[in-house]
Symmetry: C2
Subunit: 157 residues, 2 copies
């Protein structure tokens, strides 16, 4: 279990480059809402809701429709640059899929609803072994742990 290091922003910059390159390669145009979404995702480090991202862009002066944000997020997801996380009774969140393969999973507190991130090597290895041993070709995975966060445990003593 490791916490995100300082080179996160480096990875985000690399992600931004990769995303723009992928769009160019596919013949997509630049300069519109889609590019704004990419910039914002890279700047914010991912892990946002669509509506939240749209609001941020509008507050920054860009006139972006929520629909365009969804379109951009869907496209990036299809290319494999973004990961969509669906939690019960919450809008979907979108996270960067970083070029170095680094990723994390989520701890969701059933009491206060807060979410936290973690990563764990043993977990990753277990999944790799499953992938190697079955007919299913594993490309990505979501893991969410539900329970009680440290704060709520402390509050309940």
């Amino acid at each position: 279990m490791t916490s995100a290091p300082d080179n996160q922003s480096v990875a985000a910059v690399a992600w931004r480059e990769a995303a723009l390159a992928a769009l160019r390669e596919r013949g997509h145009r630049t300069g519109g809402a889609r590019t704004a979404v990419i910039e914002r995702l890279a700047a914010g480090g991912g892990c946002v809701e669509a509506e939240e991202l749209a609001r941020d862009l509008r507050q920054a002066g860009d006139q972006v429709a929520t629909a365009s944000v969804y379109r951009a997020l869907t496209l990036l997801g299809e290319i494999g640059l973004l990961h969509r996380i669906a939690l019960p009774s919450a809008p979907a969140r979108f996270e960067l899929v970083l070029p170095d393969g680094a990723h994390h999973h989520h701890l969701v507190c059933a009491n206060c609803g807060s979410t936290d991130a973690f990563s764990d090597e043993a977990l990753e290895q277990a999944i790799q072994k499953i992938s190697a041993r079955t007919a299913f070709e594993v490309r990505s995975h979501d893991i969410t742990l539900h329970g009680r966060c440290a704060a709520c445990r402390a509050a309940a003593q």
Copy 2:
């Protein structure tokens, strides 16, 4: 990795008992839509969508509103007898949380959308270790592997 054994129905019966007992204990009444939902879940082995379950009940002659099904499913989820699984662009599915703790996770094919189940001891152990080592108290977990199923791999050669 093991497949579900024949004692699944035994576990479902135990689940039904546990669910009815939990409701009784909490002072809930029996005999209405809620009980019908429990019976149907136990009979069907879980893993259904709310609307699907409501339809089944209505076809069986019970006049149950979809809203009541949602209410029942939500309550059972709060008690910890049901697990809600949210996949992107699909209605949520509800699965039994069996008394013996047996559970499985999901393989979702990005190509054809089919879902399959698996369970893996190494994965469970990795999660237990995380639980033991952090301030977060893990009570349950979701794992979803995304990729390509055997059929789609074969079709693409």
